[in-house]
């Protein structure tokens, strides 16, 4: 039975044995098994982080003509205030107009908790459909419906015939999974079940004219060269443009999916010649479905960040289309040009120690980019660990001058503060909301992910180098802040083992 036959996508801790708490050396991390081989060593002291609801909304809030209805307490979804900035800039750069996302909350109160809130949800769906006339409506459940037993799937099934929007249930009960990457599966689960069929498909008919026939043939030819380029919001438009450019150089077209894709265009993904992941953490759940149900083959290997990894990523795609010669020519020219452009930066970065923290795949491939730029990697932290990135550990282990620490942590900046005080890197690259610790310690920092900035492909490698150069040229902001700003930790903590609290959650009694 396929996962898609279930109401809810399985948790990643069950499906992939993903873990969030571990420490080890880079050289020992890359096991060859298909599943993660590490037992989770959950902490007895934890700091708040995020849950799958936040990640899901980042994708859903970007969809044009879509309303996101959050069924939960009024705070679930307040993350959308930040994500709205991305929805605005993303629509401005793609459609020429900044547009606010529309998200709604059923704002469950004490009465709803006691008496159930399916009725409220039913009325909310009907009213939202009338008021906003959206093409699709994502109904996202937070923790409370999961606790009080609201059945959002039944409500949706019952109401779908009465509304014009296509309803998409997305299960995001935060307490049910500690792996927020389950969000990608939850969103794809909803999309895969509800949005892939074409709306009002054109009736198949014999071409009436030569032009019709010509258009049909052209369309089919185009589909044979169309690649689904998966983006669940970790690339901005500038990065999409870079990958489109490279694919076009191979004669391929990109169908960008799913962020900022119109919900009535999702069926296009089922007709492409190939699906390509840009981050294996994101897409396996959906790519398997596209293959099983629609026969679209997929590639899920590597991430086009850094020169070598961009080239490897392109080679895999080219191999699928029999474009081996063409890709070698493309890569040779691209690499030569970007390496020449990077040469002056390399001498500036040579020997500087860099520390990275982000999602597992992103952190590992960005670390490789840092090595290409001349930095020495001195430690990497990642939000979770599963088996997708094993090859990347192997690549890093090969180039590591000495075994450095890998810290698997769903944020947990207390461990980071402790590590950074000991390692004292020259530069820190962290995820959004993850640079504050290093910055307050006075370390020059740069965000490893921001949808307005370029990171991907050859262009990304150069732009990252340029930005790091200016970061290092004048790090006065962090340096000046550091003596005054205080991290919230006791002095004694910095003397302790950074992993003192690993494997201690089980002691709660």
């Amino acid at each position: 039975m396929s996962c898609y036959d279930q109401k809810v996508a399985p948790r990643r801790e069950d499906r992939l044995k993903t873990c969030i708490a571990h420490s080890g050396g880079v050289c020992g991390m890359g096991g060859k098994a298909k599943a993660c081989m590490i037992d989770d060593g959950e902490r007895g002291f934890t700091q708040g982080s995020i849950c799958l609801l936040l990640v899901a909304l980042a994708i859903l809030d970007s969809l044009p003509e879509t309303v996101v209805l959050i069924h939960g307490a009024v705070g679930c979804g307040s993350c959308a205030h930040s994500q709205n900035a991305n929805a605005r800039s993303g629509s401005a750069v793609r459609f020429g107009q900044a547009k606010d996302a529309i998200w709604l909350s059923t704002a469950l109160n004490e009465v709803d908790v006691i008496s159930g809130a399916e009725g409220k949800l039913r009325s909310a769906i009907l009213e939202a459909d009338r008021r906003y006339r959206p093409k699709s409506m994502a109904v996202v459940s937070g923790c409370v419906p999961g606790l009080i037993g609201d059945d959002i799937d039944s409500v949706i099934l019952e109401l779908q015939p009465q509304v014009s929007a296509r309803l998409v249930p997305v299960h995001c009960e935060g307490f049910k999974t500690k792996i927020w990457a389950t969000a990608y599966d939850a969103v794809y689960h909803g999309i895969g079940k509800n949005l892939l069929a074409e709306r009002n498909p054109a009736v198949e008919r014999t071409p009436v004219s030569a032009e019709d026939e010509r258009a049909r043939v052209l369309e089919q030819e185009k589909l044979k060269r169309t690649v689904n380029l998966m983006n669940v919001s970790s690339m901005g438009r500038v990065d999409e443009v870079e990958l489109e450019r490279l694919l076009q150089a191979l004669g391929l077209e990109a169908n960008l999916f799913p962020v900022f894709a119109h919900p009535d265009s999702f069926h296009k993904a089922t007709r492409a010649a190939l699906s390509v992941s840009t981050c294996p953490t994101h897409d396996d759940y959906f790519l398997k479905q596209l293959q099983e149900q629609f026969g679209v083959p997929y590639l899920i290997k590597g991430m086009p960040i850094g020169i070598r990894n961009t080239s490897l990523w392109l080679k895999d795609i080219a191999a699928h289309f029999g474009l081996g010669v063409e890709v070698e020519r493309l890569i040779e020219a691209e690499e030569r040009e970007v390496r020449a452009a990077l040469a002056p930066f390399r001498t500036l970065f040579e020997g500087k120690k860099v520390y990275l923290s982000a999602g597992e795949f992103r952190a590992l491939v960005t670390a490789q980019l840092m090595e290409e730029l001349g930095f020495e990697v001195s430690g990497i932290r990642m939000f979770h660990h599963d088996a997708f990135a094993n090859d990347e550990y192997d690549k890093l282990a090969e180039t590591a001058r000495q075994d450095y620490t890998i810290n698997v942590a769903n944020c947990q900046p207390f461990e980071e503060a402790n590590l950074l005080k000991k390692v004292k890197p020259d530069l820190f690259l962290g995820h959004v909301n993850g640079n504050g610790t290093a910055a307050k310690l006075g370390i020059p920092t740069h965000t490893i992910y921001n949808t307005g900035l370029a990171y991907i492909g050859y262009r990304g490698a150069f732009e990252v180098a340029r930005r790091l150069h200016r970061t290092l040229r004048n790090p006065a902001f962090n340096r000046n802040l550091s003596p005054w700003a205080q991290l919230p930790y006791k002095d004694a903590w910095y003397g302790a083992d950074p992993f003192s609290y690993l494997n201690t959650r089980k002691d709660a009694q």
Partner: protein, 446 residues
């Protein structure tokens, strides 16, 4: 307004408001008894709504949180909370730890107060508050935290001290201008020679908060936020309270000083000096604008969209001080009947222009309210249009301003498009800042 949903709620939940408040107290450390995602939701709400200010004593994702999972939902989370508090005390430096509950722990029924009592009996400076997100909005969370502090942290039975006041009613982060506004209000009170405890400014200390019971008056610069806490304070410590609007502009500031002086029976000369000094500063400085204000015809019709503090305060400032025409005031909080009544009364006192007040949580409905009050041209060649206009609101009101062809200023949460540190609009001088910001938006293309 819908009975079934809130469009883009302009606040987070009670747990979020509580966490913002604790994180802004001197030495305050929130400990969330919650699933992992609550902290992130609050950080991202600040990121998108609080004028680029994220975090507090504990940076955005540094807040201690028990990160509950299904196990605790099934078997209860008391043991996990106990462990989390124990370890928090080892790792995190703080002066006052406050355990805050979430939806999950409220529904599961964890007995957090018993865990808190365990630590209190060991001499730990720690409180607990029931802030489960379904209890209400972030503003209620702010109120709940104040109540917990008043009940369990403020010392009872201390003698009253003449000239000492507490002030609250401005919720950290939910008012993106909270620092500046608190400083502005503190300055007003100090101009009357009072000793002020404002809880959340850099001048405040935990010791000052502990002795808050000595105050002879509590001043709440809100008709809604912190009112329940004020009632509770009076029950616990006998200090009466005075609720005023947020004093923005010289008219409101003057009325504020008069009201406080009246309640405290201060000498006439003290009040007169404060009034004179404040108004002189405001008007002698404003004078420089006289020519341009006239020559450039800077009077505007206005729509004001704001929370329960800003809706009234900005309307009053425009009508009484700036001489604009605020024709529609929209209060975006979900309020009960009594709270609505207080806002209506406050708006009813505004002079010069008779405001139209509506309660509406949903930003996209505002234009409908305006059209009903100020009909479109409907093809008439000569039409008294709603123009030239200005929109004061949140950053959501950019779309409304665009539809009206009007300039716009984000003031009320969410403020996504401004960087705010200690800018504020409350107080005499800060009124000038508001004039600057409004008129700058009009002349930006000059």
């Amino acid at each position: 307004m819908s009975a079934h949903f809130i469009e883009r709620p302009r606040y987070t939940c009670s747990l979020g408001g509580a966490a913002f408040a604790v994180n802004a107290l001197p030495g305050g450390i929130p400990i969330l008894h919650a699933p992992a995602g609550c902290a992130g939701s609050f950080a991202w709400a600040q990121n998108g709504g609080s004028g680029l200010q994220v975090g507090g004593n504990c940076g955005p994702l540094a807040i201690p949180s028990s990160n509950l999972q299904e196990t605790e939902v099934v078997f209860g989370g008391d043991a996990r909370l106990h462990q989390q508090v124990e370890n928090t005390l080892k790792v995190v430096e703080g002066g006052l730890y406050v355990v805050l509950t979430s939806c999950v722990t409220e529904i599961v029924g964890d007995d957090i107060l018993s865990v808190v009592r365990d630590f209190q009996s060991r001499g730990v400076s720690i409180l607990g508050a029931h802030t489960g997100g379904f209890k209400g909005s972030a503003y209620q969370g702010y109120d709940i935290v104040l109540q917990a502090i008043f009940k369990d942290f403020v010392t009872s039975g201390r003698p009253r001290r003449r000239g000492k006041v507490n002030v609250w009613g401005i919720a950290p982060s939910l008012d993106p201008f909270w620092r500046g506004n608190l400083l502005g209000v503190r300055g007003l009170l100090e101009s009357l020679g009072l000793e002020v405890n404002a809880f959340f400014t850099l001048e405040d200390t935990l010791e000052g908060i502990r002795s808050a019971g000595e105050a002879e008056l509590n001043v709440v610069v809100s008709d809604v936020y912190g009112i329940e806490a004020a009632v509770r304070f009076e029950e616990l410590h006998g200090t009466p309270f005075l609720a005023t609007g947020l004093p923005i502009g010289p008219s409101a500031c003057s009325a504020f000083l008069q009201a406080v002086a009246g309640r405290l029976g201060l000498d006439g000369p003290v009040l007169d000096a404060a009034l004179r000094q404040g108004n002189r500063t405001y008007y002698k400085t404003l004078e420089a604008l006289t020519d341009c204000y006239q020559d450039m015809d800077l009077q505007r019709y206005a729509v004001v969209v704001g929370d329960a503090n800003y809706a009234g305060a900005l309307t009053r400032f425009l009508a009484e001080d700036l001489g604009w025409l605020p024709e529609l005031t929209v209060c975006t909080n979900l309020l009960n009947e009594e709270e609505r009544g207080r806002i209506e009364t406050r708006l009813g006192e505004v002079r010069n222009v008779e405001p139209n007040l509506v309660f509406e949580t949903d930003g996209t409905e505002v234009i409908g309210h305006l059209n009903r009050r100020w009909p479109n041209a409907q093809g008439h060649r000569y039409h008294d249009a709603f123009s030239p206009a200005f929109v004061l609101g949140s950053s959501f009101e950019r779309e409304l301003a665009q539809a009206l062809g009007a300039p716009h200023l984000s003031i009320s949460f969410p403020v996504a498009n401004r960087a705010i540190l200690d800018r504020g609009y409350a107080g005499f001088r800060n009124g000038l800042t508001l004039v600057e910001d409004l008129l700058s938006a009009i002349v930006a293309g000059r």
